[in-house]
């Protein structure tokens, strides 16, 4: 039963998160920050998500090519 649950969890982790969890963490953090800036500070932070996406991709590629992931 525990093995089945572990396999189930591993499947969904691999399906949603993939090879590098840092990318998922950066995307979620950027979305949260955008929501805070937009709703709490009144800043229309449309530029934040594209910058975060490019930074996450660059960082993940750097880690992959330098053998860190």
């Amino acid at each position: 039963m525990i093995r089945a649950l572990k396999l189930f969890g591993a499947f969904w982790y691999d399906f949603v998160i993939g090879d590098d969890w840092h990318v998922a963490a950066i995307v979620v953090a950027a979305l949260a920050l955008t929501a805070v800036l937009t709703h709490a500070a009144g800043v229309n932070a449309w530029w934040l998500l594209p910058i975060a996406a490019f930074a996450a991709l660059a960082w993940s590629l750097h880690r992959a090519t330098s053998g860190k992931s």
Binding site: G18, V27, L31, A35, A53, L57
Partner: protein
């Protein structure tokens, strides 16, 4: 219909990639083991997928659009960036190109080596599970793409049409050639899908977080080319640095040897 064309095309390309991967696994199971158990596995996977769509489909349409766009934007963004990461690493030479022919040969070798085990009404359990897992995994990605794209654009029908055409085209071609579709430029397709998923994920995620995009929906016409340009730039930059490191790796022993020779020359001439 013209307005739905980008949606249909995006879903078509994304689902075609998944269908090609599923076809490779089904062909390996069917041609090397037996078709009966392979079709049973495929049917079981399709039934599970239908149940998932039956539960997820109506549930997801009940979510408010803002919350849906936030969640879907995050998921698509993560998916898209992972696809782009792999496609860029492959294009730059850091990762082997996904080759359906060699993937097929690997599956065939494993299928030939596995013993034939009968379980209840399944005469070949290996063929059944191989086909079931392949179709379910790739099918889940198709379902995810159809539901997220279709529901966000409030046009599930158009997304389903794009996916259905992709699956039918790949299946018919696979049946006709009876071989994995190795000549399809899979990395280029994955690159394109990664760009679309990242762009739509960024756009919908931003809207879900409360952002007002400059130009409203027309912002996508800028986001897609910018994501494409940046990704191609990363690929070109990595390809160049990969080549340079390869050249440096090759010339290192030569340089050492030349250095030794010139030193020897210097010693003898003195």
């Amino acid at each position: 219909m013209t307005a739905a064309l980008p949606l249909v095309l995006t879903v078509f390309v994304a689902c075609a990639v998944e269908a090609i991967e599923a076809l490779t696994i089904v062909l390996a199971a069917g041609l090397t083991r037996q078709w009966r158990s392979t079709f049973q596995g495929m049917t079981a996977a399709l039934l599970v997928l239908t149940a998932i769509v039956g539960v997820l489909g109506p549930t997801i349409t009940l979510l408010p659009l803002t919350a849906l766009r936030l969640v879907v934007g995050a998921l698509l963004g993560i998916f898209g960036l992972q696809w782009l990461r792999k496609a860029i690493l492959r294009a730059a030479g850091y990762k082997a190109l996904h080759d359906e022919a060699s993937a097929y040969l690997r599956e065939v070798a494993a299928a030939k080596a596995a013993p034939e085990v009968r379980r209840r009404w399944i005469s070949d359990w290996y063929a059944f599970t191989l086909s079931f897992k392949g179709v379910l995994l790739e099918g889940l990605e198709v379902v995810f793409i159809v539901i997220t794209f279709g529901d966000n654009q409030r046009n599930l029908g158009a997304a389903a049409v794009g996916a259905a055409i992709a699956v039918v085209v790949v299946a018919v071609t696979g049946i006709a050639v009876r071989a994995p579709l190795a000549k399809v430029p899979e990395n280029a397709m994955k690159f394109a899908v990664g760009i679309m998923l990242t762009s739509f994920g960024t756009f919908w995620g931003g809207e879900g977080a409360g952002v007002r995009w400059p130009g409203s929906d027309a912002a996508l016409l800028v986001i897609v080319p910018v994501v494409a340009a940046v990704s191609l730039g990363y690929a070109a930059w990595l390809r160049r640095s990969h080549r340079l490191s390869e050249v440096a790796g090759r010339s290192q022993p030569q340089a050492t040897r030349l250095g030794t020779e010139s030193q020897t020359e210097g010693v003898t001439s003195r």
